[in-house]
Structures are given as C-alpha cells and as structure tokens.
C-alpha cells in the first residue's frame, strides 16, 4: 500500500439548496474506495462532481491532469474526462441494443472497429447470447453488468459507480457483487463507488470514506472504521453501541450526567463503544462486579435468528444482545422494567 502513486485527488465544495458538500479525498490506482453514508449525505453529488456533471468549487486532478480548478477557472467538461460512470439503475440507452450500448463510447472515441471490440467485452462477460437484445429484454442483473461493460469499454482512468447493487433484487445481489469484484480487480484505474449499504461497502472496498451531511466523518480500511466508529451511522453499521462524553481518568461523563466506568479512559472528549453482547439484562438489581448498572425500560425487541436485540431506554440507553430463551424467561416485552449491567472492562474508549 505504501509508496503507490496516488492518482485521484479531490478537494471540493458544492453549495446547493441549503446543502453543502465539503470533501477532500484521494484514491490510488488499483484501490477501490467506497464512499459510504446515509441517504442525503451527498454521495451521488460527489460522484457526479467527479464525473464533471456538477459545478464545483475547488480542485480535482486525475493522473496528473487537472479536471477542475476554480482558482484558475479550469473545468474539463464531462465528455472530455476519462471517467466512466455506472448509474444506479443502469441507464442503458433503451433504443440501442446491448452491443450498440457497449460500443457507444467507442464510437464517440472514433474507434474503427467499435462493434468488434464491444462484442469481445460482451462475450468475455458471458453475455454473448444477449448481444442483440434491447435493454428492456434483459434482467436487472444483466442490465447492470452491461452498464459496467459500457463504462469499462472506453478504457477510463476513473471508474465511478453509483450504488451499483441497490436497485437489484436481494437474491441476485450476491451474484452480481461477485461479478463486479471480478471486473473491478482486472480494471487498472481508480475505482470509486458510493453506497448506503454497509454490506456492499465492506464487500467491495479497500478503503472506506464515511460521508454524513456533506462532510467526511471518518475514513480508513473497513476494519479500522468499524473498530472505532465515529458516528451513529458507522456504529449501526458495526452493530455496536456508541456513546460520546468527557473522560476523567477511569470514568466517562455522558450527556445527562450519567457516568460510565471505564478503566484507562484518559482525559478529554472521547467515544465509548460497548458491544451489545457485553450488555447483560436482569429482572432485579444485580449484585456483583459490574460497576455500570442502571434501571431502565424495554423499548423494542428485534429478532435476528436465535439472537435477540433488545433496545433499552435508561440513563445510558443501550442495545443488548441476548438469546430467545432469555427473552421469554425474563418476560422482556416493550414497557417491561429491566436492569442493565456492563462490565467496565467491556467499555472501549478512544479519543473523539
């Protein structure tokens, strides 16, 4: 990883309709960067900006070529960038056949044997028998794969994918994801995809950039990001409880003056993470070592196979993961009174 030439650098701001996108990111050749965030975070806007379809303030360079530079009045239009765009629901040209769709970009580049080259791509992807079909005759998965081929055929330096799997049926997502991974692996340009689906991000990305309300809140490898979530979104993604407060040595003071015991908490503004498995539930106040004990009320009970996630509202609101047997034994229905306990050693604290 270290020492590879970084080829996409972007530092841009877009202000629109009361929404501001302010992002700086970079990506290297051979690396798939996933921009992850809830809907409305600005992911699609970011992608379109890199494709040249939006007015931006700032600077974008790709492989040494300046695509946008507001200070010098440079803006390379979309058709002159070597950036391939794959839309959420393929957006294949409905009046052109599969082979004509794939050949479109080649023809725009005035390649002499566009149809032949297109056919090679289609055959290699195993879609040779659908070459003459129209987009509406294809299945969702096939169409999305053709859209990818169409973008790859022009040999772009940057490949931009907008939620490539989210418009597909859940049942075929896995298959198309595998196909996508394969295609991406053999693409030697910069790969950037945006998604709101954590599974998609984790499965496809080498690096994650978490975007919320137009700002980058976290970036790193998937492992790094989920180990130390810095936002509710990532915490939910990682499936952990995330709290924020002021650390004083061996405890963390949270909002509402509730206090969390945690050894080596340090000082200052911190995040505290507690895995739901580490949260224990009791019918009555427990006696024992846990120093973090609160009384609360069951908010909701959600089944995940044999495991159950119980959301409890308490001075420190937490989600606990217990077995089904435990739920029925303790009578954990919404509204039921319950005690929660967390061992201090199960609390992981890191600077905010």
């Amino acid at each position: 990883m270290v020492g590879r030439a970084v080829t996409l650098e972007a530092a841009i701001r877009i202000k629109r309709n009361g929404f501001t996108l302010d992002v700086a990111l970079s990506a290297a050749v051979g690396e798939t960067v996933a921009v992850l965030g809830p809907n409305g975070a600005g992911k699609t806007t970011l992608l379109r900006a890199l494709a040249g379809l939006e007015d931006v303030e700032g600077r974008v360079t790709l492989d040494g070529e300046v695509l946008d530079d507001t200070s010098r009045g440079v803006h390379v239009p979309a058709e002159k960038r070597r950036a391939g765009l794959v839309f959420q629901d393929h957006v294949l040209f409905p009046h052109l056949s599969v082979i004509e769709n794939v050949a479109f970009g080649l023809r725009a580049q005035r390649q002499p044997r566009a149809a032949d080259v297109a056919r090679k791509w289609i055959d290699e992807a195993g879609l040779g028998d659908r070459a003459e079909a129209l987009p509406r005759e294809l299945s969702g998965g096939q169409a999305q794969r053709v859209a990818l081929l169409r973008a790859l055929a022009t040999g772009p330096k940057l490949l931009l994918l907008d939620e490539p799997l989210s418009s597909l049926d859940v049942s075929i997502r896995a298959e198309v994801r595998r196909e996508l991974t394969r295609q991406l692996a053999s693409f030697n340009g910069v790969r950037l995809l945006v998604t709101h689906d954590p599974l998609e991000a984790m499965a496809l990305a080498d690096r994650l950039v978490v975007l919320e309300h137009g700002l980058v809140v976290q970036s790193g490898t998937p492992g790094e990001v989920t180990a130390r979530p810095r936002s509710r979104f990532v915490a939910d993604l990682a499936g952990v409880n995330l709290l924020r407060g002021e650390a004083h040595g061996d405890r963390v003071v949270l909002a509402g003056d509730a206090s969390l015991a945690a050894p080596d908490a340090g000082e200052g503004d911190v995040f505290a993470v507690i895995h739901p498995r580490a949260v224990a539930l009791y019918r009555t106040r427990p006696d024992g070592t846990p120093r973090n004990v609160w009384q609360g009320q069951v908010d909701s009970v959600d089944l995940y196979g044999e495991r159950v996630r119980v959301r409890v509202s308490a001075p420190v609101p937490l989600v606990a993961e217990v077995t089904r047997a435990a739920v029925s034994e303790l009578g954990l229905n919404p509204g039921a009174s319950v005690w929660i306990a967390v061992k201090a050693t199960e609390v992981s604290v890191y600077p905010a």
Binding site: G52, P77, E79, H95, F104, G105, A108, R150
Partner: protein
C-alpha cells in the same frame, strides 16, 4: 379486475358526446353525392386544391420541424419568467382566432408591414398572395402544436441518458443525434402529425394573408368554402376527401407512436 360499475349517467353523457362527433361525420358520408364524386375528383379545381394543400401542409410541417425542435429545446431548458413569456409567445397562435393571425401576418409581412416593407423596398419581394404566404400562414398556426409536444417530451426525458452519453465521451451533437432525438421520436412524431393536420385544415389565416387563387393559394378548405356557395356537391366531395385522409392518418398511427394523443 372487476371495476365498479359505471353509472348510467356517465354512459349517457359520454353517448351524447360521441353523437356530437358521429352525426356530422355520418351526415357527410351519407349525403355525399357518390355518383358525382368521381367526376368531382378529377375536376381540375379539385386536383389543384388537393395538390396545393398537400404541398403547403407538408412544407409547413417541414419548416415546423426544423425551427420548432430547437425552439422546444430552448423552452425545455428555461425556467421561471423567461419560460412563461416564451411559452405564451409560442402558444399564442393556438389560441388566436386564425383570421386575427392572418391580419397579424399581413401587418408583419405585407408590403407595408414591419418586415415586409424592408423586403419589398430592398428586393422587391412581395409575400401576400403567394404560395409562400399560404405556407407561412399554415406554419404560423400549426407550429405551436409541434413545439408543445416536443417540449413535453423533452421535459419528461430522463436527463441521465444525456449524462451517460457525455460520460462516455459524446459531444453535444452526438448526444443530440444519437441519444436525445431518437428518444424523442414518439413526441416528435405525434407533434408533427398534429401540426400537419392543423396545417391541412387551416383556413382563416390563409385566406386573409394569402388571399384566394386557384393553383396558387386556394387550398382545400378555401375551395370547400367557395364551392359551398356555387357548387355544393363539389364542396361535399372535397370535404369527404379531407375526411378520408384524416381518418387514414389517425388509423394508421398506432398507440405507441401517438403517446399523449
């Protein structure tokens, strides 16, 4: 699927509406002098009027396509006040009584008109009373139909197709000719048909601006109007011809081409 039963009142009203369309057409067909029809068809006045009508209406439609599609493209990209003003201007001929349109054309392109006087003084060109005037009158009243249809088509077009094309390296003209226009084909087609039909039936603006002269400006509607006073059978025959042509067009066009029609 079982729909709720349509109340009798709705059926009755619909029936009355249908009658309003059917009866006049039936009258035309049933009272037609079929025995004389053939003789009328070969009458030089008839053939001249027919030929002229077809030539003028097709020319008007062609002009409408060349000028109207770009106009629709501009309209589709504008917003707010500018758009409202442009929209009002381009649809004005649709709501203006055709004779008023004819007078307006006269005032613009007649020998003393604002533009016409320049043409006349500089080049000796006189537009009224010519076939050109007939074509202009028809274009004036019919083009708005095309513009409206194409603009509606453009606005409902997913703009991502153009973006996809651009991301693949297509410049303005390639995007226009390979993506936008082909996708607009239903709208263009139905707009052109409406335009052509309106041009074919145009009377008020034509007779006011272009006048009346067989073979030069006497289109079928004008010929029918004149014949009504002197030779009613000829008028009916001509009307029938126009009716048959119109029905043929409508029947020949399929649903998927008509779109909004």
């Amino acid at each position: 699927m079982r729909r709720a039963r349509t109340p009798a009142a709705i059926g009755l009203l619909a029936g009355l509406g249908l009658l309003l369309f059917v009866l006049p057409l039936a009258g035309l067909i049933l009272r037609a002098p079929w025995s004389q029809a053939l003789a009328e068809l070969t009458d030089p006045t008839t053939t001249m009027a027919l030929g002229l009508s077809i030539f003028c209406s097709l020319t008007a439609t062609a002009i409408a396509l060349v000028l109207g599609i770009p106009l629709a493209m501009i309209l589709a990209r504008t917003r707010g006040t500018v758009r409202n003003v442009l929209r009002a201007l381009t649809t004005l001929p649709m709501v203006l009584p055709p004779v008023v349109g004819g007078v307006a054309l006269w005032l613009a392109f007649g020998r003393r008109g604002i533009a016409g006087s320049l043409l006349y003084q500089a080049f000796g060109i006189q537009i009224p009373f010519t076939t050109t005037a007939a074509v202009m009158a028809e274009t004036f009243v019919a083009m708005p139909f095309l513009v409206i249809a194409v603009e509606a088509g453009l606005r409902s077009l997913d703009h991502r197709y153009e973006e996809a094309a651009r991301s693949l390296g297509a410049g303005y003209w390639r995007v226009l000719t390979r993506v936008t226009l082909p996708l607009l084909r239903p709208a263009i087609f139905s707009g052109a048909v409406l335009c052509w039909a309106r041009a074919l039936g145009e009377f008020g603006a034509t007779i006011t601006f272009a006048g009346n002269f067989p073979g030069r400006t006497q289109t079928v509607p004008i010929a029918v109007y004149l014949a009504l006073e002197t030779k009613p059978e000829a008028a009916i025959t001509l009307s029938l011809i126009l009716l048959v042509v119109s029905v043929a067009i409508l029947v020949g066009m399929r649903d998927r081409w008509l779109g909004a029609l």
